[in-house]
């Protein structure tokens, strides 16, 4: 025989009352729990256009066939129009055969005016708030390439200053890019013309590539990027300057929307001293081929990393 609890003399009465009280307590607890859950989830009401079904289900860039790509480009055009009120022209420009882009920058000429930075921001629809810039100009004392001696935030009215030289740094388009290797979802890769690109619709925003880059060339959209409507550059490309979403990575892509259409990058065009040279290294007649052949001193930044940049710095004398 099983032992009865001590209060078993009036089993019915006691258990009845206990039952009602317990049920009441239980439902109160469950109700307040659900209310608290709903309250804590309430900020999600402002989520807005975080993503759409189309965007959420979109396939990986390399798996999209031309028809699907056309649809995606249409969707992007629609999204841009809705957001900025202008109809953009979004293309998916492919690399050209027999082309490998190389950048050369003449450190003797560069005066540190940061015009390239501003041109880049305008051309590539970079966020004005929070500020994102692909190019960082370092002010270095003569005689040293030690970046720890660099001033990133110089605000002198007049450049260049005596005793200093200036070194703009942007994505070095490495032949052996550490950022590509570490990406867990292949959202960034190197194209045949040497440009390392990002599929902004595939990036999961883990920022591993940002940690891996030895040139601090990558930028993350910590917030929803803001570009004034009247400043939007409507000439866009999928892997290039189309507006980005919150929470994805971006970086310099040698102005893919221009260079793959036979134009120079924006930073080169704006340079007032002609310090920037850009071209096809596979073409022996190109300017960059000439520079790399004829100039005696050129530098690949952090050469010891084995990243083999396609961005060369050189001095004239």
């Amino acid at each position: 025989m099983a032992a009865l609890p001590p209060d078993s003399f009036h089993p019915d009465k006691t258990s009845d009352r206990a039952m009602t009280r317990r049920t009441f307590l239980r439902s109160t607890a469950a109700l307040s729990g659900l209310t608290a859950l709903a309250a804590s989830l309430s900020p999600l009401r402002e989520l807005g256009d975080f993503t759409s079904t189309e965007e959420f289900l979109q396939k990986y860039y390399k798996e999209l066939n031309p028809d699907e790509m056309a649809k995606v480009l249409k969707r992007i055009e629609r999204d841009v129009e809705r957001q900025y009120g202008i109809r953009p022209h979004v293309r998916d420009l492919k690399p050209m055969d027999g082309v490998e882009f190389v950048y050369c920058l003449n450190l003797t000429r560069c005066i540190g005016c940061r015009k390239c930075v501003h041109a880049c921001v305008a051309e590539n629809n970079l966020s004005r708030s929070p500020e994102i810039q692909y190019i960082r100009v370092l002010k270095l004392p003569h005689g040293s390439l030690d970046v720890e001696k660099a001033d990133h935030n110089y605000t002198t009215k007049q450049v260049p200053e005596k005793g200093f030289f200036y070194m703009p740094v942007q994505c070095q388009q490495c032949k052996n890019p550490p950022c590509v290797k570490v990406c867990p979802v292949n959202a960034t890769w190197q194209e045949s013309d040497g440009i390392t690109v990002i599929d902004y619709d595939w990036c999961i925003g883990c920022r591993y590539c940002e940690a891996a880059c030895p040139y601090w060339a990558r930028r993350f959209n910590f917030a929803k990027p803001e570009v004034p409507k009247e400043r939007v550059n409507p000439n866009m490309s999928y892997l290039g300057n189309r507006p980005r979403k919150q929470g994805v990575m971006e970086k310099c892509h040698f102005c893919i929307q221009r260079t793959r259409a036979g134009r120079y990058p924006a930073c080169l065009e704006v340079c007032p001293v002609g310090a920037r040279k850009f071209g096809n290294i596979l073409d022996p007649e190109s300017e960059v081929s000439y520079i790399l052949r004829e100039k005696r001193v050129f530098i690949q930044l952090k050469e010891e990393m084995g990243t083999s940049p396609r961005f060369f710095y050189y001095f004239e004398k």
């Binding site: 025989m1 099983a2 032992a3 609890p5 001590p6 729990g33 608290a36 859950l37 309250a39 804590s40 989830l41 309430s42 900020p43 999600l44 807005g48 975080f50 959420f56 990986y60 960082r136 370092l138 030690d146 970046v147 720890e148 001696k149 660099a150 990133h152 550490p178 570490v182 990406c183 867990p184 979802v185 292949n186 959202a187 595939w202 990036c203 999961i204 925003g205 883990c206 920022r207 591993y208 940002e210 940690a211 891996a212 880059c213 030895p214 040139y215 601090w216 990558r218 930028r219 993350f220 959209n221 910590f222 917030a223 929803k224 979403k245 994805v248 990575m249 952090k302 990393m305 084995g306």
Partner: protein
């Protein structure tokens, strides 16, 4: 098949139910954890809407306290294996029951790890891009894809091992070795791999000299095997504490009837054996001749509720089988009594002392009118010559839930050695960085001494160094054989290592940036709330796991009492049955 599924669902249902039952302390604890979890969830929803701008992170310091916690917790998860190795390789039986607690901690830690990685993602909605087959996984090139595989694999392995062992215990089955032992050994290797892979995540980055050092992997393992078992030592004592009632309260052994009247005591017959065989099918396979030869000296007693069947500390040679009724086994240690298990029909108690001749380690009291078969050790040995009987009795002997001080001291040995290695490896790193004096010392300089006037981490790292060194000294001295000082050492090493390999490893890697800029980092309020939320959620999970596992291990939540769920559930916090007035006092 359908029946098996139904049984399994029933098991899950009962486990789920019991998670919602407890005393006021349990409810209060769970309510606090739920509240903090919801605060964290609220903070995360804000982050989802506004982006990672609400954290303290920037393009300069692009990983922060999320990844720091992630790194620390991978270590905790990996360290669960340090409980498994002594048991399965060195046969340290003292830790046998504790393995499940360790593995459940690993499961909770991995859940926290996955949560910390998820909240760090800029686009958590695109998590499916990581799923092999569905998405596009950069395997084997990306160390992060390795981490995704090994972490989820480790989660599955541990869930399988714990789940299977607990389900067998619930069903009263003897676990099939082939179904879990291979996984135990895979899990051991796997545990090393999860932490090595996590270390490689950092080590593989050539552009970050602070991380790009071969010693980071070994340092990770050493610190994990310090902090993990230290955490387990504390967790086990908490479990032990809440499953115990203070000595002198209603259910202590002194309240039992010390001199039972043993109302009926007679010689055992073959009929009693048959009765036992109904609850213990293995006995049926023992030939009648052997059963007969084990009868001389065996007696059957019928006792009342509250009667003491055997007393902790005494020495005699008998083992007991319960024929009907229920017996509760209690153990007094350090002024507290805890119920180690309850024994129902067909189960045995007292056999360890009988077989080894050692003093009784616990007191057994009848919980209801009970009939027991009392058998001298020789008779038990006779029965155990039968392989099936041998297996079932031995497996039950090792499945018991006993958190002994000896078990804790074995863990202390692990913490001790690991902490020595950890401090030694840290010294190696510091020497290499500062003595060679090349430009790569900048990050270490920032961490330990400050760089160009920026010194946000300096007080933290020296706190960590002080804690680790104090813990090391305490652990080496015999003073930490006392639980109080061992606990102090454990807390110091957990906090010290959390700082050292969390913030102390992740943040300096970003300072200065590869272009030489110095931007400091400190977590924002929202970010901190998310971290607290995840920790609370992890603790919530671990509490629920224990709430389910402890009654199963104690034999209070079994298939046998499926129709009387009150027995398993009506109890206070984790195990202690509500004290009943002993009948002896009434009589």
């Amino acid at each position: 098949m359908i029946l098996a599924t139904r049984n399994y669902l029933r098991f899950l249902w009962r486990c789920g139910r019991i998670a919602f039952v407890g005393d006021w302390r349990y409810y209060a604890w769970m309510a606090v954890l739920t509240a903090i979890t919801l605060l964290g969830l609220n903070a995360y929803c804000k982050q989802l809407v506004h982006g990672l701008i609400v954290t303290g992170m920037s393009d300069e310091v692009s990983w922060g306290v999320y990844i720091a916690n992630f790194t620390f917790l991978v270590g905790v998860a990996a360290a669960a294996v340090m409980m498994v190795i002594p048991v399965y390789i060195y046969k340290k039986e003292e830790l046998h029951d504790l393995v499940i607690f360790g593995e459940l901690l690993a499961v909770a830690a991995i859940i926290m790890c996955l949560a910390f990685v998820t909240v760090d993602l800029g686009r958590p909605d695109r998590f499916w891009h990581l799923i092999p087959g569905l998405g596009e996984m950069n395997f084997p090139a990306s160390m992060l894809s390795w981490d995704v595989i090994v972490l989820n694999g480790y989660l599955l392995l541990n869930v399988h091992i714990c789940g299977y062992l607990l389900y067998c215990r619930y069903q009263g089955w003897k676990p099939a070795k082939w179904f879990y032992i291979p996984f135990v050994f895979i899990a051991i290797v796997w545990a090393i791999s999860i932490h090595t892979v996590t270390a490689f995540l950092y080590v593989g980055l050539g552009g970050r000299p602070f991380w790009n050092s071969a010693i980071v992997g070994p340092r990770f393992l050493a610190s994990a095997f310090t902090a993990g078992p230290a955490l387990i030592i504390l967790a086990l004592q908490i479990v032990r504490r809440v499953t115990a009632v203070p000595a002198g309260a209603g259910t202590t052994s002194s309240n039992g009837n010390l001199s039972p009247r043993m109302a009926v005591r007679r010689d055992a017959t073959l009929k009693d054996m048959e009765m036992l065989a109904q609850h213990l099918p293995e006995l049926a396979s023992v030939p009648i001749v052997d059963r007969l030869s084990s009868l001389p000296g065996a007696t059957v007693s019928e006792v009342d509720q509250g009667d003491v069947l055997l007393q902790q500390g005494t020495t005699d040679n008998d083992a007991f089988f319960v024929l009907s009724g229920r017996v509760v086994v209690k153990r007094e240690e350090g002024g507290r009594v805890r119920i180690t298990r309850t024994v129902g029909a067909g189960e045995q108690f007292g056999e360890i002392s009988a077989l080894t001749g050692t003093p009784r380690v616990a007191t057994a009291i009848a919980q209801e009118p009970t009939r027991v078969l009392r058998m001298p050790a020789d008779a038990l040995r006779m029965l155990m010559r039968n392989p099936r009987m041998n297996d079932i009795i031995r497996s039950r002997m090792t499945e018991r839930l006993m958190i002994t001080d000896r078990g804790l001291l074995i863990l202390r040995g692990i913490v001790q050695v690991s902490m020595l290695i950890n401090v030694f490896l840290l010294l190696n790193e510091v020497f290499k960085e500062f003595y060679s004096g090349n430009l790569h010392v900048a990050s270490s300089h920032y961490l330990f001494l400050g760089l160009h006037g920026y010194d946000g981490l300096v007080p933290w790292i020296w706190t960590a160094v002080a804690f680790n060194l104090t813990a090391m000294v305490l652990l080496v001295l015999p003073v930490s054989r006392s639980l109080r000082w061992l606990n102090v050492a454990c807390v110091l090493s957990i906090v010290g290592i959390w700082i050292e390999k969390g913030m102390g490893l992740v943040i300096p890697g970003f300072i200065p940036t590869p272009l030489g800029a110095i931007v400091e980092y400190s977590p924002s309020l929202n970010e901190t709330l998310i971290c607290f939320g995840i920790w609370a959620f992890g603790l919530l999970c671990y509490t629920v796991f224990l709430r389910m596992a402890v009654p199963i291990l104690q034999g209070r939540l079994t298939k046998a009492n499926e129709d009387h769920p009150e027995f398993a559930e009506s109890d206070t916090l984790l195990t202690t049955p509500a004290p009943r007035p002993p009948l002896a006092a009434v009589r």
